[in-house]
Structure formats: structure tokens, C-alpha cells
């Protein structure tokens, strides 16, 4: 008798588990790039506070590519992306019937950093960076004077992003000229703090990562001014130089992609409106460069006027300025 009771109790429990999904509260699911994560996290935090926790937001880090995979499988409402959606991902989304609104939310400056005790490096050109990082340099370019004879006969220690990150993709495309084409014999890490520590401990080190990591660690790193190929002037990464579009080609826009179907849900629409209204303030707080106010209102206009899709046509582009981006988004 006892056992039959136990069995029926277990059965009831089982039914309760599988019938449970109905009573879930509203949850907005966001996933994707670790670069965009700090901004979206800040917005989610403030949004939940403002809504007194009635609407729930979750943010995961699967990387831009991993985020799009989930997004195009119809599993998330919003996808964080540190690069525009690719042609392949566009196809996947189309196949699953997922339509989206592309929303640039900020600019990031890929920062080339050196040790603060490094006295000989005052600036670098894209060509010099290419000589250091291109695949042909593997095993051959090991000393500073091999890149530029004016530099000393000292070993060159390279630190860079791991091959799965959007940062790696963008840097290689902007510097080497082809995405994901890089020498392999350098210290690679997906964890940028490893790179920060590496460069801060070695006088002969040079590395690259997102601006936020440099901004938080200014005491132990020096940003290397990069010569703008159009003006031939060396420019240091800063909020100002990104806004004025002089820090090129290493400035890049970062995005969130919102699923059109999710926008029918009032809580997602509210969240996006909150995002665009507060993006300017919050991006600054987490050390990214905010876009002009018109960009954020433009994003909401796209929603209102049902302008869907990407303005990049499935291709990543280097050296796009804020103005160009705004013009393109306006044309959609």
C-alpha cells in the first residue's frame, strides 16, 4: 500500500513538472557577444529596477556567432553582436522565419596597447601592424627592428584575442586585410584580462583588445596611437577620436538584433524603448563610445516603420565611421 502511494505521488510530481511551463512570468531572453554584454547588462539591470522586477531579463554570453545561432533558432528575443550579421546567419534566420531589426548601440575602439615603460614606440602604422601580425610573419618576425629599423633589436612579444572572438575577426580584417587571417605564434586568450596582465609585465609586449579593458587599466598600460591611413596623423583611441572618426580603421560599431516577433510582446518593446533612451548614458558608464542621439531614435523609428533587416548585406566592413553608419541606417 505504501508503495502504491509513493508511485502515485511521483506520478503527480511528474505531471506537475511537465505542466509547469504555463505559469512562467514574462522573461526577455538575450544572448550573444561578450563585447556588447556590459552595455546590455547595465540596461537590463536598470530596466528591472525601473519595472520593480515584474519583467525579467536574462543575459547570456555565447559569443556573437553562438548568439546568432540561438537567435536564428528562435530561442532568444534579442542577440548581442560585435559585428553585423553574416550572410550565412541571414540565411539561417530566413529559413527559420526569424525577422529582425538591426540596432547599432555603441562604438568600440580596438586598442593596441604596449607596456608603459616602452619608450621607443610612439606610434604605429597599419602596415607596421600588418608586418607584425600577418600569417607570413609567423616564426620570422621576432624582433622589433625587423618591423621598423628605427626600433631596437629586442624580442617582440605578441598578445592577442583568441580565434573565436569578434575582436580577432575585426582586427585581422582591418590590419591584415582578411578576416581570421593571423599568425598563430602569439599568446592568445579569450579572456582579455590575461592579455592585460601579459602586456603590463613585459616591456617588449604589444597586444590588442577592446577599449574598455584599456580604460579600466590605464595605470598599467599605454595605448599606442595608430596612424590614420587617410590623414596620415597618429591618433590615440579615445571617446573624442572615435566620435570624430579620426581613430580609424580600428573603430567599430556594435549592435543588438531584435526579433520582430518578440516586439509584439509589450515587455520586449518596452525594454527596447528603455534601451535606446538610456543607451547614451549607460554605454559611457561601461567605457564604450555612445552614438549620437539621432541613432537611437532612428533605431526606434525602424521599429515603428517596420524597417527590418541589416544594412551591411551580410558583410563585415572595416573603418566605417559613425556618420556613414547613420546615413546607411537612415536609408534602410
Amino acid at each position: 500500500m505504501q508503495y502504491s502511494k509513493l508511485v502515485s505521488a511521483l506520478a503527480v510530481a511528474g505531471i506537475a513538472v511537465f505542466g509547469a511551463q504555463t505559469a512562467q512570468a514574462q522573461v526577455i531572453k538575450i544572448d550573444g557577444s561578450s563585447t556588447v554584454y556590459p552595455i546590455t547588462e547595465a540596461v537590463a539591470e536598470e530596466f528591472q529596477k525601473a519595472k520593480k522586477n515584474v519583467i525579467k531579463v536574462t543575459v547570456g554570453i555565447s559569443g556573437t556567432g553562438g548568439g546568432f545561432k540561438k537567435f536564428c533558432r528562435d530561442e532568444t528575443d534579442i542577440s548581442n553582436a560585435s559585428r553585423p550579421i553574416t550572410a550565412k546567419e541571414m540565411e539561417d534566420c530566413k529559413a527559420a522565419g526569424v525577422q529582425y531589426v538591426e540596432m547599432p548601440v555603441a562604438f568600440d575602439a580596438l586598442t593596441v596597447v604596449i607596456n608603459p615603460k616602452n619608450t621607443f614606440l610612439k606610434q604605429a602604422t597599419v602596415a607596421e601592424l600588418k608586418a607584425m601580425w600577418e600569417p607570413a610573419a609567423q616564426g620570422k618576425i621576432t624582433k622589433w627592428n625587423q618591423v621598423n629599423p628605427a626600433w631596437p633589436d629586442a624580442p617582440i612579444k605578441l598578445f592577442g584575442a583568441g580565434a573565436d572572438s569578434g575582436t580577432f575577426e575585426y582586427f585581422t580584417e582591418a590590419v591584415v586585410g582578411k578576416a581570421k587571417s593571423s599568425r598563430g605564434d602569439y599568446t592568445a586568450s579569450e579572456d582579455d584580462n590575461v592579455l592585460v596582465q601579459g602586456v603590463s609585465r613585459d616591456v617588449n609586449a604589444i597586444g590588442y583588445f577592446g577599449y574598455a579593458y584599456y580604460a579600466e587599466n590605464k595605470a598599467r598600460l599605454k595605448a599606442l596611437p595608430i596612424v590614420n591611413p587617410k590623414t596620415n596623423a597618429a591618433v590615440e583611441p579615445s571617446e573624442e577620436s572615435v566620435i570624430k572618426s579620426t581613430y580609424q580603421p580600428l573603430s567599430r560599431p556594435i549592435f543588438v538584433y531584435v526579433k520582430v516577433k518578440s516586439l509584439d510582446k509589450p515587455e520586449v518593446k518596452e525594454f527596447i524603448e528603455f534601451y535606446m533612451k538610456n543607451a547614451s548614458k549607460l554605454t559611457k558608464e561601461v567605457k564604450y563610445v555612445p552614438l549620437p542621439a539621432a541613432a537611437y531614435t532612428g533605431n526606434l523609428e525602424h521599429v515603428a516603420k517596420k524597417k527590418y533587416g541589416s544594412v551591411f548585406g551580410g558583410k563585415n566592413e572595416v573603418g566605417i565611421t559613425i556618420e556613414e553608419l547613420m546615413k546607411r541606417e537612415a536609408k534602410l
Partner: protein, 312 residues
């Protein structure tokens, strides 16, 4: 001949030599033990020193935040605890039943041999493989999604071999006369297991379970694979409380809730640009350490208490 010619001095020298080796080995042992202990103390001490300023009530009661000083581990420790609960509920009955069957019921033939070899091998499979397995089975095929239930079942699979092996070890350590005595007075195999084998094996089983859980609580890879979240500022719904106006959560709604766990929170904090988060990571690391140590302490205490009740 030689034996008889040994003088008292030679004997003393021999003994002294032996004692010297003894002392040397002891010193070596203490030295290596010391290295291990020092490393642990340095690690824990370093975490406590760096994290101490965050170790207050707020740290336990706050959700994650972009500001290091306000960020806490509420969703992480609640998530870890709930996942462990699911893991224990799934792994203990399965593991104990499998262990008892293999020891008490199964015939010794090639099928059980293969099963045994497989169980031992499973204990050595990298945890990420379990993550991939449950991504396919629990998340997609069964449709459990990225939930506490999925995570709990994944970790249950992970520690199942540990539970089975420790159950079998515990059963094997019971003297055969107990089993024979029970059978001799007419008990069935089930009654023997129910009233003798399982109660006597319980201390050993519990130790295995808790060692397994202590391993599971620190696992990150399989939990990331099935899609645990990084930012989550709400708790799973408590049974029968109001989730949205007018709608109450069911008894088991929390099982399907999204979640995060301690190791993921720690990993996220160590990889953030703002160095202030390293303090949070150290504090959270210390909390996780305390959680693991207290689980081990409970295991030791339970074993001690239960062994006292066994009278043979």
C-alpha cells in the same frame, strides 16, 4: 658465522642507520605534506584577504550588477543550491539502486562485466562530454530548455558513476555473515537489502554522494554548454507564490526556471575589465570553498553518527 661475530657496537650502528632512514623518510613526508598544505592555505588566505571587504550580508542578498561594490551572489548561490538538490534527488536513488543490483542481484557473467567496466570508465569521462550529451537529450530532445532541471540532471549523470562505485564498495565491506544470517532466518533477498544491506552501507553511500556533489558544485563546463546564464537578477519562483498578478507558481515551476551558478559568476567576474570585480571573484571563490568544505564536513559527521548505530 658472521651473525655470531657481530659486536654490540655493530648492532647499534645498524639500528642507528635504520633509524636515520626512518627519520629521513619522515622528514621528506612532512616536507611534501607541508607543500600541499601551504599551497591550500595561501590560496584560501589570499581569497579571504582580497575578498574580505565584500563578505557581508549584502553580498549574499544582492543580484549581479555592473557596479562591483553592489554586485552580489544571490542568484548564484540559490542557483547552485537548487541544482545540487535536483542532482541529489536524481543521482542517489538511481546510483544506489544500480549499485545494489550489481552487488546483490546481478549474475556474474559477461554482460555485468561490460557494465562494470563501462561504469568505471564513465567516471573518467571529461565533464564537457556530459554537457554535450545533455544539450542534445535534455535541452532539445526532451524540451527541458536551459533550466535548473536540465542542469541538475546533467550533473546527476556526471556523479552517477561515483555514487554507484561507492555504493558497491560500501556493500562489499559488509561481512558475508550478515547476509547469510538474514537469509538463514528466512528473509528474502529484498528484505535482506532493505533491512540490513542498505542501512549498513548507508555511511559509505552518503560519503560517496557528498563527494560527488562536492565535485558537481564546482563544475562549470557542462553547465555553460547547456546554456546557463551570466546575468540573471531574479530568483526561481518559490512554490505557490504569486509570479504575475493572479497567477501562482506551481509546486515545481522553479525546476524550469533559468539560472546561474557560483562557478559561472566567478568566471564572469574574473574576466571583466574593471579590476574591482576581482575582489568579488575572490569573495565568491571563498564562499564556494566554504560550501564545498561544509558539504564534506556534513559527510564526515553523518558517517560518524551512522557508524555508531551499527552494532556488529
Amino acid at each position: 658465522m658472521q651473525h655470531s661475530t657481530l659486536t654490540a657496537e655493530q648492532v647499534r650502528a645498524l639500528i642507528a642507520k635504520g633509524k636515520l632512514k626512518d627519520t629521513l623518510f619522515q622528514a621528506l613526508g612532512i616536507f611534501f605534506l607541508g607543500i600541499g598544505l601551504i599551497v591550500i592555505f595561501l590560496l584560501v588566505g589570499d581569497m579571504v584577504l582580497r575578498g574580505s571587504e565584500r563578505l557581508n550580508l549584502d553580498f549574499f542578498m544582492n543580484f549581479a550588477s555592473r557596479r562591483a561594490a553592489n554586485a552580489g551572489i544571490l542568484s548564484a548561490w540559490v542557483g547552485s543550491l537548487l541544482v545540487m538538490m535536483v542532482t541529489a534527488f536524481a543521482a542517489v536513488p538511481l546510483g544506489v539502486a544500480a549499485g545494489v543490483y550489481l552487488e546483490e542481484y546481478a549474475k556474474r557473467n559477461w554482460v555485468t562485466e561490460i557494465i562494470e567496466i563501462n561504469i568505471t570508465n564513465l567516471a573518467a569521462v571529461p565533464s564537457i562530454v556530459y554537457g554535450l550529451l545533455s544539450l542534445g537529450i535534455f535541452v532539445y530532445a526532451f524540451g527541458f530548455g536551459q533550466s535548473i532541471l536540465t542542469a541538475g540532471l546533467t550533473l546527476a549523470l556526471l556523479i552517477l558513476p561515483i555514487v554507484i562505485v561507492s555504493t558497491r564498495e560500501a556493500i562489499r565491506s559488509i561481512p558475508a555473515m550478515i547476509r547469510e544470517g538474514s537469509m538463514a532466518v528466512g528473509a528474502t533477498r529484498w528484505q535482506t537489502c532493505r533491512y540490513h544491506i542498505i542501512p549498513y552501507a548507508m555511511p559509505g553511500i552518503l560519503t560517496g554522494v557528498i563527494i560527488g556533489l562536492a565535485r558537481a558544485i564546482g563544475e562549470t563546463a557542462p553547465i555553460i554548454t547547456i546554456g546557463a546564464l551570466t546575468f540573471i537578477a531574479f530568483l526561481p519562483p518559490a512554490p505557490f507564490t504569486e509570479v504575475t498578478p493572479g497567477v501562482n507558481a506551481g509546486m515545481f515551476d522553479w525546476l524550469m526556471s533559468p539560472f546561474t551558478v557560483m562557478p559561472i559568476q566567478i568566471f564572469n567576474w574574473t574576466s571583466r575589465p574593471d579590476p574591482a570585480f576581482e575582489i568579488n571573484a575572490a569573495a565568491a571563490g571563498f564562499v564556494l570553498m566554504v560550501m564545498v568544505l561544509s558539504m564534506n564536513a556534513i559527510a564526515i559527521w553523518l558517517r560518524y553518527k551512522m557508524r555508531k548505530n551499527i552494532k556488529w
